[in-house]
Symmetry: C2
Subunit: 192 residues, 2 copies
DNA sequence: CGCCGAGTTGAACTGAATCAAGAAACGTGG
DNA sequence: CCACGTTTCTTGATTCAGTTCAACTCGGCG
């Protein structure tokens, strides 16, 4: 199963066999059940978690304890609180399993070790941070400039599969609106 | 002046003299006047720009051509469209000089060269991408979960100096609200 | 069947936008 | 150093997108 991770990396930068063995020897297999809390807001993220199968959701709360979805992860992507992990400070988000999850994790210390030893490992770290950053920048502009309807249309255009993965309630709070508003928006799209 | 950049890097990872010379030999000095457009939305960002002195603003537009501020940069920070630079795709934002700017730039090709040659260079790239990412993640949560007033209070608490650097109009659109709303919010804070 | 969670719909409310007009602050030239 | 125009900020009245609260529908499942 670890080979799945190697396939992803191979497209970004080629680790030597030695480097890969070092890295993969540090990977810990982990399973989560639906509803499991993978990381609790306020805790420090000690693992980078790569999902082989299943779906996870990151979420947080506003000052009145309303819940907001921050991001979703499924097969072949990471589901850690990246900013907590890299800065080793308390996480702003919680992470939960929406379905049973099979994943591999590497600890902060082990990853730093890889970064120190391997130029290519460092490069993979850089590339993945950059990719995630570009994604966040796009989301920032969406949140900043779009109306509720525009945000929804933009989302289903870019990530049509998301609708099958998560509840509408989660889609709504991911867009920063209430489930009721999303329902009305979907209704208005049907009648047009 | 380039030494200012070295001081920043030195806190993150130590380049050898050789590596630093290679890097610094690629730096181009640039000056901009107040109002200059440093990068136009839709263009591909070919330079990573480090500001020695002055202030820049990134901005974009919604579907009705209302302008929104995306970020601000001043001394000792970067003012490029990072996501356009790293992916070499059209920028979602424009960048303008709010004051006269003195800066150093390195081109995409030269930076990739440094990344290839130098493990430490690669590390600096990773660390800076990570720092920027953590910043964007915080902003994402602010935009997602806070009311106009909360966003403003949060901003002036975290970046009190920003009020002296940029116009209130820019603060407002950075928070995703109108200048009129910001004015009312500031008024309501005064009377409380 | 009957319950339960997810989604929808309705009516009233509200935070922020819009449109429009003033007041301050700012800079430039006489 | 003041007068004038321009830009920035504020204030008021109105409108509107999206929230809130509450009730209802639908589909799955014990």
């Amino acid at each position: 199963m670890k080979i799945q991770i190697k396939h992803i990396f191979d497209r970004q930068a080629l680790l030597t066999d030695e480097e890969w063995l070092l890295f993969s020897s540090k990977l810990i297999e982990r399973q989560y059940q639906k509803g499991d809390l993978i990381l609790k807001q306020g805790a420090i993220e000690n693992y980078l978690t790569f999902i082989i199968q299943g779906t996870a959701r990151m979420f947080t709360f506003d000052s009145e304890m309303n819940e907001y979805s921050v991001s979703f992860s499924s097969e072949n992507s990471f589901c850690s609180s990246y900013s907590s992990f890299i800065s080793q400070t308390p996480s702003l988000v919680s992470v939960e399993a929406l379905e049973p999850i099979l994943a591999y994790q590497i600890s902060y210390a082990h990853l730093q070790e890889l970064y120190s030893i391997s130029h290519t490992g460092e490069r993979l770290g850089r590339i993945n941070a950059e990719l995630y950053l570009a994604f966040k920048e796009e989301r920032e502009i969406m949140l900043l400039t779009m109306s509720a309807k525009e945000k929804y249309l933009n989302l289903i255009e870019k990530y049509p599969k998301l609708l099958n993965l998560v509840k509408l309630e989660h889609i709504a709070t991911y867009l920063g609106i209430t489930p009721q508003s999303l329902s009305r928006i979907r209704n208005s799209i049907r009648n047009s």
